[in-house]
């Protein structure tokens, strides 16, 4: 059993233990879940320490046969892409438990158990190296989130939960078709074997197959990201979810989509990916601008942050489909940044909601007077989200824009509009909520951060600064992996698919 298996096992064991705890032991339920999630976090830090940045191969790999026929393995491992996403997951889970400490009153046992199950599913998604296992984890993560939204959400929770489930389910069955199709040709679910077979030509898909398979995977991931116009489930799910649900949804679950694009879509179907890239980039840019514009006119804070996610994730997709080293580095870094800063935004909006019991921006104003520290923390988070230098998002956005400029300068021009717009809606939000007259309701209800709340938000603030000031702690591992992915897309293209590649060039020339 290697450290990665342990990181995976802890939340699952925690979930099972939680099922046995008596439902009346409210305090114990919280402590146990916090304990398990903290242990998982510490164990995942061990992964970061033991991770060898210079090594291109998979690390911490475990490969055990799960089912003989068809040949399904429990095969997990880490590379620079999975490592940080797993740590992001294990970092955010204890934070989610902390922020739900008091806000969750009904059926707390199930709530905290589902959070641990969610952590298990998400870490599994990022670690799986077997296509089938990946799908299993992908679907497992769906179930706890469905219940988190549906049971503990706000007024329209049922609608949002069902919409979330059906959207993802409908898209992922297409991916399942794709996975089975690949298996029937490759006779293995082992991802590295499939890539090796693609590389040496033993496995070959013709152009039509490649395009259809690419789309089957792409749609599943695009719904999750979400890429415009498949984003409509997201505002509902984010707004109706309880705070912890929103945080996990925005910070980690959306990354499942972009992770899938990078990990599976590009290396397996490089020709199709390159052929479709111009269209996907257009969708990404529409997402960037549309998300920002819609965010600007939202009267609801959570919805504003939700639409800002559509905009931010557009940058990630743009970076990925720029097919440049910098663009991809930026995309991965932006995945992590978005996880930290948007997660923090949802946490802070949740704090405000716990005090004032309203998400409408109009119900606030002058919060800075009764709660100066809350306002300061919100300010830092907001500035990070806008992309202020020395804070994390700046690095990611810069790399993405630089990378996309290398591919096509026009893309960068349009994408930059999104950066400007994000400053507009965020600053305007901050102004309306924290400055101005302080209404009586705000004065009576709003108080400053409590110690538990400090503990939950401080790690995120620290990460924003760290990732903004010294990105070298994270980027080398990322770069190693993205370079590898980029290599794979080029090698395979030269080998097999000439026509679509040249079509890309034509599209560039236009």
């Amino acid at each position: 059993m290697n450290p990665l298996d342990i990181v995976l096992a802890i939340p699952l064991v925690g979930f099972l233990v939680m099922l046995l705890v008596p439902r009346s032991a409210e305090k114990m339920i919280r402590l146990i879940s916090l304990g398990f999630s903290l242990v998982a976090f510490i164990a995942s830090l061990g992964l970061a320490i033991g991770f060898q940045t210079g090594l291109a191969a998979e690390q911490f790999s475990t490969d055990v046969v799960w089912i003989y026929s068809p040949n399904i393995h429990y095969h997990v491992s880490l590379d620079g892409l999975s490592l940080w996403l797993i740590i992001l997951t294990t970092l955010l889970t204890p934070i989610c438990i902390l922020i739900s400490w008091q806000s969750i009153k009904a059926r707390s046992k199930e709530f905290f158990a589902f959070l641990l199950l969610l952590e298990f599913g998400l870490t599994g998604v990022f670690a799986a190296q077997d296509l089938f296992l990946f799908y299993v984890f992908w679907e497992i993560s769906l179930v706890p989130m469905y219940f988190l939204i549906g049971i503990w959400g706000h007024e329209r929770r049922i609608y949002a939960a069902v919409k979330f489930f059906l959207y993802t389910m409908a898209a992922s069955v297409l991916m399942l078709t794709g996975i089975i199709y690949v298996y029937n040709h490759a006779h293995t679910f082992n991802y590295s074997d499939i890539l090796a077979m693609l590389g040496n030509g033993r496995l070959h898909f013709n152009n039509t197959e490649q395009i259809l398979l690419f789309l089957a995977f792409f749609v599943a991931f695009a719904v999750k990201v979400p890429i415009f116009p498949l984003h409509t489930w997201l505002p509902d799910a984010h707004v109706e979810a309880p705070t912890a649900g929103s945080v996990m949804l925005a910070s980690v679950m959306l990354k499942m989509g972009t992770y899938g694009l990078l990990r599976f879509c590009l290396p397996m179907f490089p020709g199709a990916a390159r052929a479709c890239a111009p269209w996907i980039v257009v969708l990404a840019i529409i997402g960037i601008i549309y998300g920002a514009l819609v965010a600007m006119v939202q009267p609801n804070m959570k919805k504003l942050v939700a639409y800002s996610s559509v905009s931010h994730l557009g940058f990630v997709v743009l970076g990925i489909f720029s097919f440049t080293q910098m663009g991809m580095d930026g995309a991965v870094y932006q995945m992590l940044n978005h996880g930290i800063s948007t997660g923090a935004l949802f946490v802070l909006v949740g704090y405000l909601y716990e005090r004032r019991h309203s998400l409408a921006i109009a119900d606030y104003g002058g919060v800075a007077t009764p709660a100066p520290w809350l306002s300061t923390v919100f300010m830092i988070t907001m500035l990070a989200s806008i992309g202020l230098p020395l804070l994390n998002n700046f690095i990611g956005e810069f790399l993405v824009l630089q990378g996309s400029a290398q591919a096509n300068f026009h893309w960068t021009i349009f994408a930059t509009i999104g950066v400007i717009l994000s400053a507009c809606y965020m600053l305007w939000l901050y102004q309306r909520v924290f400055y101005g007259e302080t209404p009586d309701e705000v004065r009576h209800h709003i108080f400053d951060l409590k110690p538990r709340e400090w503990v939950a938000i401080l790690p995120l603030i620290a990460m924003m600064v760290w990732m903004g000031v010294y990105s070298q702690s994270f980027l080398p591992a990322v770069r190693r992996t993205t370079a590898h992915i980029l290599d794979q897309t080029q090698v395979n293209v030269q080998f097999q698919v000439k026509a679509p590649a040249s079509r890309v060039e034509v599209a560039h020339a236009r």
Partner: protein, 488 residues
């Protein structure tokens, strides 16, 4: 054909489960008269004992596989798989019947005897290798089932269900018998292997029209029995009207047995003309999935909803048949096992919740089950998630194997449409989950009594089975795979 007038001991051993079941059923009928109205739980205990004995008998019989009684019966892995399956469903049905029968004041040896006869008929079906024997098994199973469906004599809906089931079922068997007659006329034999041989090389091969007609007639009869479209209309009415444990039984055991003979006939006797019949199955599979799932979307009665869902599930199994391969057969076997477990479990929860006179059968009556009885709700969630096809449940692997087999046989469109169908299905199963966990408690859940022992067993066993099939599917699938080899 070698005729052996004095069957040996080993042949009786191969027929052991049926002997036990018939003997026990008869004994129960006699006891019913002797004991009258005393000690009524004894009937249930006795029938469980008989079923367990039959189960062991089936396993014992499997230790010496081979034909019996001049080859009209054959004990192979395939037969054993389905014998165990239908007997297992029988046990679960009896377990969930205890409380139900007492609540409805309808305890009697007769109920259990009919159940045993029905299971015996299904055992004959799944292990016969000859068309007349299949027909006899089908009739034993069906006639007992007709009576079981109308077992609550004072209930109008049960009467309607029984009548409908009887009339349509008789038509179906008549169709089937017609098919048998034509096949016999064309090939001069009713043995499946001999038919296969005749169709691949004999003179019958030169008369495709008549053979096609025969296959079509038998297809119609069997599609009725498995509630495959377009012969599915009886299913929702019968499942809604029949007593809930009986509905659970009907949706699992006779259906599995009918699919067993479906597979056996079409994959052996009619295997040489697979290219001709598979488009028929293709269409029927697609129609069943689509009609079942879309009709279930708007149902408010839980039994009716499960009825439509069983049509859709028959569609998935038909997809496996359309794949016309060993992998497909194994997938169908696996799915039928998974389906039997999750469906019987779901019906057992309905039986628990419905209350005296089956008053609470609306989906809305599940409201608040999650808070009132978290364990019952959790078990039902497992069954529903399995029906949706979420990983780590038997239903997921069942669907996965079926659609994998379909893609193996290049049925790309059927796979895509089938999987999209399963996404549609998620909606109505989710609705139950929503009501159960996300609504305030209703009158039905408010006056719910704790789970009695029998029902608890009838819930926990299928739940564990569903999870087992979802986490360690290889064991069952291996067995199914080996058995599907023997089939040809």
């Amino acid at each position: 054909m070698p005729v052996n007038f004095a069957p040996g001991a080993v042949e009786y051993l191969r027929f052991l489960p049926e002997i036990i079941l018939i003997a026990a059923g008869t004994l129960l009928m006699v006891l019913d008269v002797i004991l009258r109205k005393q000690a009524q739980e004894i009937y249930g205990h006795l029938s469980i004992a008989a079923l367990v004995a039959a189960l062991l008998g089936a396993l014992w019989a499997n230790s010496s596989p081979g034909p019996a009684f001049s080859g009209i019966l054959i004990v192979d892995g395939f037969a054993t798989f389905f014998r165990v399956l239908v007997i297992g469903v029988g046990i679960l049905t009896v377990l969930s019947s205890y409380r139900f029968l007492r609540r409805e004041g309808a305890e009697a040896g007769e109920y259990h005897a009919l159940l045993l006869f029905s299971v015996a008929g299904q055992c004959v079906m799944v292990s016969s290798n000859e068309l007349i024997m299949i027909f006899i098994g089908l009739e034993i199973s069906s006639i007992s089932s007709y009576v079981l469906a109308g077992y609550l004599r004072d209930d109008k809906r049960a009467n309607e269900a029984a009548l409908k089931y009887f009339l349509l079922g008789s038509f179906a068997t008549a169709f089937f018998l017609y098919g048998v007659a034509v096949v016999y006329g064309m090939t001069g034999t009713t043995y499946l292997n001999a038919i296969q041989a005749a169709l691949s090389s004999g003179p019958a091969a030169s008369a495709p029209v008549f053979i096609g007609v025969a296959a079509a007639l038998m297809f119609v009869g069997l599609a009725f029995k498995v509630s495959g479209a377009p012969f599915q209309v009886w299913a929702p009415d019968v499942y809604q009207g029949a007593p809930t444990p009986v509905a659970a039984f009907l949706s699992a055991a006779p259906k599995a047995a009918a699919f067993a003979i479906f597979l056996r006939i079409f994959m052996t006797a009619f295997e040489p003309i697979a290219r001709e019949w598979y488009p028929l199955v293709w269409i029927s599979a697609l129609l069943s999935m689509t009609i079942g799932n879309f009709a279930a979307l708007t149902q408010s009665n839980i039994k009716r909803l499960l009825g439509y869902s069983s049509i859709a599930n028959a569609g998935y199994v038909l997809v496996a048949l359309a794949a016309r391969s060993q992998v497909g057969t194994a997938a169908a076997m696996f799915y039928l096992a998974a389906y039997a477990l999750m469906n019987v479990g779901a019906f057992a929860v309905v039986a628990h919740l419905s209350g005296k006179g089956e008053r609470f059968l609306s989906v809305d009556d599940f409201a608040g089950l999650g808070t009132r009885q978290p364990i019952t709700a959790a078990l039902l969630s497992i069954f529903l998630l399995s029906l949706i096809g979420v990983p780590l449940t038997g239903g997921f692997f069942g669907k996965f194997y079926i659609f994998k087999a379909a893609l193996d046989s290049h049925l790309v469109w059927l796979t895509v449409l089938g999987l999209l169908n399963s996404a549609v299905a998620a909606y109505y199963y989710l609705r139950i989950l929503v009501v159960m966990y996300m609504r305030e408690p209703s009158a039905a859940t408010a006056e719910l009594e704790p789970l009695p022992f029998g029902l608890r067993a009838a819930l926990v066993i299928p739940a564990l089975g569903t999870l087992f099939l979802g986490i360690f599917p290889a064991w069952v699938l291996d067995f199914a795979g080996k058995s599907s080899l023997l089939l040809r």
